[in-house]
Amino acid sequence: MTFDAHRCANGHVTYPGHTLCPECGEKQTETIDLSDRRGEVVTWTHSTATPPGVREPNTLAIVEFDVEDTFVRAIGQVTTDDVETGDIVEPVYVEELRDPDVGIKEPASQDWDGYRFQPIQ
């Protein structure tokens, strides 16, 4: 499992990737690995009343990563319920973010592993 942002020839960066760059329509040709980078929490929430197969509460954050002369954001689970806006976090690999077998989506239709954000003390 990778945690890659995608870049087109014009330098636009997105996470996740797209068939064509949403900004300019060019193909995205490069990847930027975010898994070994640190990011900053833009906002967060403790989500309760979560869907089947999802932990409760499910603490989520939108995190911003600096990549060269621009930035890219990602959303993901947080490893702890103790998080604040502005916290610096690093991605931590998790094999299964939610139980694929009890939700509405066909389990084989997508990946279920990925990266949680861990605040750095």
């Binding site: 997105t14 996470y15 996740p16 949403p22 833009v42 906002t43 967060w44 929430t45 403790h46 989500s47 309760t48 009343a49 979560t50 869907p51 089947p52 197969g53 999802v54 932990r55 499910n58 989520l60 954050a61 939108i62 954001r73 990602a74 959303i75 993901g76 689970q77 806006t85 973010l97 939610r98 939700g103 509405i104 989506k105 239709s109 997508q110 990946d111 279920w112 592993d113 990925g114």
Partner: protein, 383 residues
């Protein structure tokens, strides 16, 4: 060609025993029986519905309804644009008349949801997200929590301003016999309710709802021959924003609201200052602020002040959600955009009863996903 709304109706919203087919038939039949036309006159039928297959295993609902209401051989089509399916149905119906493809179009929106548990219904709705969002358990309420925190922190807005939206819309809903909740709430109750996606609590969210709503469209020329009580669609626009919500340049700007409202204003030759009443998609209280800013009524980061000042109260400068909004009226996904149109129609033709405000121009903004797809409709009273 100017497009008129000839009639509009809706079922009681709430926890209903009826399944989708009967809810659709109830609203559709009420709309047709109130209109000065024969069922044979209907040439197009649109059914706005997000997820009948996922919720109850029933597909092909447009065919069922056309047959059941005696509308054969009218062209029929199901319209899915998630939570904005109803607004998209208005767009389709408007196109059908404006293009000359149909002289009489019935639109019926509906959803049956309450037989599912809250987690199950939340999952159906969350299935609209990107796989890289869905696997993290991201839900629509969690987008609202993430965005509300950012809004409050960035614009230094008080938490109470969001509760004011809930209190206002519940108060408006008391006068709507079709609303799921006809019950006022206090600020204390809203602020002390259980956390759903903090900083948002239970009363910041619309309920899960069964219900249906219908509108009948024809040319303005034909409407004027048939009745004095009709409204005209003077402007309409639809637009799409990013599928992945965190990819938006500014988390507090709903690009689909901005773009679709600009299209609608331009078509109508009107602007935000011309509005007398509006129905906004308050699936979450924070969305009322983002839409007030998106449609140009408030500058970015200031709509919370309008809520605090009572500007958007029923007796304020610009009444917002006189119907009670999704918050107290309920949110049967595919029905909601149509029900917004029903409220604006009733306000413009003077049929809103105790909810009536002085209005010649009304706007409805129907939001799908978390602003992913948006339809803005401007209606005016018949001249």
């Amino acid at each position: 060609m100017e497009v008129a709304v000839l009639e509009a109706s809706m079922t009681k919203f709430g926890q209903r025993d009826a399944w989708l087919r009967d809810l659709l038939a109830e609203a559709g039949e009420a709309c047709l029986s109130d209109a000065p036309i024969d069922n044979d006159d209907v040439e197009h039928l649109y059914v706005s519905n997000m997820a009948s297959g996922e919720f109850e295993g029933q597909t092909g609902v447009m065919n069922w309804l056309a047959h059941d209401l005696g509308l054969l051989p009218a062209y029929s089509e199901r319209v899915d644009q998630t939570s904005s399916s109803g607004g998209a149905g208005i767009y389709e119906a408007w196109q059908s008349i404006a293009s000359g493809a149909s002289d009489m179009t019935l639109l019926v929106g509906g959803e049956k949801m309450t037989h599912k548990t809250t987690p199950e219904a939340t999952d159906v709705i969350a299935s609209i997200t990107h796989p890289d969002e869905y696997k993290h358990g991201v839900t629509l309420p969690s987008f609202a929590g993430l965005t509300a925190r950012h809004y409050l922190e960035r614009f230094d807005a008080p938490r109470e301003s969001l509760a004011k939206v809930a209190v206002k819309n519940h108060k408006n809903g008391v006068d709507n016999p079709h609303a799921q909740f006809q019950k006022e709430i206090t600020m204390e109750k809203a602020l002390d309710s259980p956390i759903v996606a903090d900083p948002l609590r239970l009363y910041d969210f619309c309920p899960i709802t069964d219900g249906s709503a219908a509108m009948l469209f024809t040319t303005e020329e034909r409407a004027a021959e048939l009745t004095d009580d009709y409204a005209v669609i003077s402007g309409i626009g639809g637009a799409t924003d990013t599928h992945v919500v965190h990819e938006r340049d500014d988390p507090t700007i709903m690009g689909g609201v901005v773009e679709s409202s600009q299209q609608a204003y331009e078509m109508a030759g009107l602007g935000p200052d011309d509005l007398d009443v509006a129905e906004l998609h308050d699936m979450f209280t924070i969305l009322e602020f983002l839409q007030l800013e998106g449609i140009g009524v408030a500058d970015q980061g200031t709509a919370w002040e309008l809520a605090m000042e009572g500007y958007t109260d029923k007796d304020g400068e610009l009444p917002i959600n006189t119907s009670g909004g999704l918050k107290s009226k309920g949110h049967p996904l595919g029905a909601s955009g149509v029900a917004q149109g029903v409220e604006i129609y009733e306000q413009l033709v003077g049929e809103a009863g105790p909810r009536q405000v002085e209005a010649d121009v009304g706007l409805a903004c129907n939001v799908g996903g978390f602003g992913n797809c948006v339809i803005t409709t401007i209606m005016e009273a018949a001249q």
